[in-house]
Amino acid sequence: MSPITRRNLLRSAGIGAAGVGLGAGGYLVGRESAEAGGEGTGSVPFYGEHQAGIATRAQDRLHFAAFDLETESRSELRELMREWSLAAAEMTVGELVGDVNNLPLAPPDDTGETVGLLPSSLTVTFGFGPSLFEKPGLGLSGKRPAALKPIPPLPADELNELESGGDICVQACSEDPQVAFHAIRNLARIGRGTVTMRWSQLGFGRTSSTSRSQDTPRNLMGMKDGTANIRAEDGDAMRRFVWLGSGDAPAWMRGGTYMVTRRIRMLLEIWDRSSLEDQEHTIGRHKYSGAPLGESEEFDPLPLDAERNGSPVIPVDAHVRLASAEASGGERILRRGYSFTDGVDERLGELEAGLFFICFQRDPERQFVAIQRRLGANDALNEYIKHVGSAVFAIPPAARDGGFVGETLLS
């Protein structure tokens, strides 16, 4: 049976791309959207060397989920990853999930909310947490990468266990929020009985650029974030700081990377009553231009040695100074985070909002943890943030055509 794309489903029903009605089953609300291939509406390949959603030009929307595995059977885990990979591949090209979508007496395999929507650059990225390797029944302890260790306690930590960790993660990114939500919802449904969702996070705006073709976005503090990020076009930097290569161990991780996520709650009420000067000195950049303090253009190099009246132009505790590659022995990470809000913090009546920080690197301890340790002790930004969730995952290489993510580990 040839795959049914979500758009063709509408066309074959005799209505246009922007149509709204579908037979006796009621209404499936389509959406007036640009044709596939337009900005951000096309599809990103699921199969290949590296998983998508890492070097991919950062999409604007995120739905992230961490799952606990409810089985200790390796074959069940393998079957889950096979089904998940197949569904992810279908969704990324804009096809309906599964084969059973037209039997009157059966619930459709696909939950349906993306019918009529384009692929919208959906990427689905899978990862394995350290706790997965500790389940005796799976027999994976010998395959655990040395670099996959829980993130140690760090400054500014106010971690909530229920928003941290997880055996398996799924990162769904798309230009369309409903497409990202649909991916997580359908994968959770497929995994029912095998996995339980431990925590999840919606992100509504990218806070990093991962491509030179993208403008630097602003985070919820109104500051440009990630100006100095690694760009996917910089192949040398990607190989040096992100991807595990042919000489790296364990072999099953070659072509993969490690992901760290941090749910960073911003204390926006406090930030908003800080003076402009205080805000700029906290970050080390001018708020509106994004230029380093004392400079005029966003991409001007940081004048770390510049002084004015005997004091550094960029304060010693400014975030950009402490986070700079210069200050971290040249270590860098690929950041790919999202702004979030989850309504109101009921204890405070304040905005429950911030940055869902995601980064990729070859070695979390040497890169993220080292940078965060140095930042945390002195970072002026600590006044305005709390880290409330934390997780680390091994991101295996992509599935080969017809294969599944995790095949190198589980076969």
Partner: protein, 372 residues
């Protein structure tokens, strides 16, 4: 504990300086009292002396034409911006001008001289000249600061003694009283670099091996139920609060900085007291909460006379909001202390947090008002 206060102190110092130095105004002919005087002679070669040095602050420039036909003026420039000058000093004439300069290198220019440009090197920190109102605001806050650092030492001593004697219950009963004076003046402690982290760091704020101060002992007393092993921490704490008392005596205070300190204290309440994170073992967060508010109120009242002239409406609103915060705290008062943070429901903390947010939003406007 907070980290930005150090920088906030520095930047508000800069605001203070701006107010004093922004125009580097030249007041013709009029020598300023207490100012450094620099004398120059205009010659065909240029300014004599060619280079000069002066301490930061008010400087009088006295210039005499020593017989040069071609060189008749002296300018002081910052880059290419003329800060002050005396022109048309023909042979035999003299004149003067005054500038208040901050630390840095300026250009001395005698146009038409063989070597036009020399360097004026200004060194050291200037002494801002405060108006009587500003002086009174600073003096008032300084009294409060010194009273509280003295109380901090006086209340930390018996607490530390109890810890050293292993009297856990006694130490617990003395803990809150030692915390209060510190929480009232915390932003000043934060201006001394690592003194605040040494006294007030929470677990994970600093590397494990460096963790000491009040909260390390708090954890030992309430969670580990032992004072064993924290004796060196207690001794260091006493030394640190004594050091704070000494340093506070000579700390340079400025009005905007004091007002900013009030904001810092309320940020402290919002960030860590109302969330129960500051006193996570003893749960005396509401004690700290009130101490922060008291400290913010005194800081505000110190600078209030400066604000009342500028914006009396804002001053009144802030006064009323302080009263509102105390009223909202009242139901949780028990004796001379407060209920444990753990007894608060989300509706309670929400009301308190919103009360602080409302006050802090207005208080944050004060520094810009009083240096305007």
């Amino acid at each position: 504990m907070t980290r930005t206060a150090l920088r906030a102190g520095l930047t508000t110092a800069a605001i203070g300086l701006l107010a004093v130095f922004a125009t580097a105004c030249g007041s013709d002919e009029e020598a300023q009292a207490g100012a450094k005087t620099l004398s120059f002679t205009l010659t065909d070669a240029g300014c004599d002396p060619h280079n000069a040095e002066a301490p930061a602050g008010p400087i009088n420039f006295e210039i005499e034409n020593g017989g040069s036909g071609g060189v008749t003026e002296l300018e002081v420039l910052d880059g290419e911006t003329i800060l002050g000058e005396k022109e048309n000093l023909t042979e035999g004439l003299s004149g003067s001008f005054s500038l208040t300069l901050e630390e840095g290198e300026y250009t001395l220019r005698c146009n038409g001289g063989e070597e036009e440009d020399g360097t004026l090197k200004v060194t050291g920190k200037p002494r801002a000249q405060n108006s009587p109102e500003v002086g009174a605001a600073i003096a008032g806050y300084r009294d409060y600061l010194e009273k509280n650092t003295a109380e901090l030492v006086a209340k930390t001593e018996p607490f530390v003694d109890a810890v050293l004697a292993g009297e856990i219950e006694q130490a617990k009963s003395l803990y809150a009283a030692a915390r209060i004076p510190y929480e009232r003046i915390e932003p000043v402690a934060e201006s001394f670099g690592d003194l605040d982290p040494r006294i007030d760091a929470r677990e994970n704020d600093v590397p494990k091996s460096e963790w000491g101060g009040f909260h390390r002992i708090e954890k030992a007393l309430w969670e580990e139920d032992t004072a064993k092993g924290v004796a060196p921490v207690a001794e260091q704490l006493l030394a640190d609060v004594e050091e704070l008392q000494q340093k506070a005596k000579t700390v340079d205070l400025q009005a905007a900085q004091i007002a900013n300190g009030a904001n810092e204290l309320l940020s402290e309440v919002s960030a860590s007291k109302i969330t129960g994170e500051e006193e996570r073992y003893s749960h005396i967060d509401l004690v700290d909460f009130e101490a922060n508010v008291e400290g913010a109120q005194v800081a505000f009242e110190s600078v209030e006379p400066l604000l009342s002239g500028q914006n009396p409406k804002l001053a009144k609103e802030i006064e009323a909001d302080f009263e509102e915060v105390y009223a909202d705290l009242k139901p949780y008062r028990r004796g001379d202390g407060f209920v444990s943070y753990t007894t608060l429901a989300p509706a309670d903390t929400r009301k308190l947090a919103q009360s602080i947010d409302a006050l802090a939003e207005k208080l944050s406007q004060v520094p810009a008002e009083i240096v305007a």
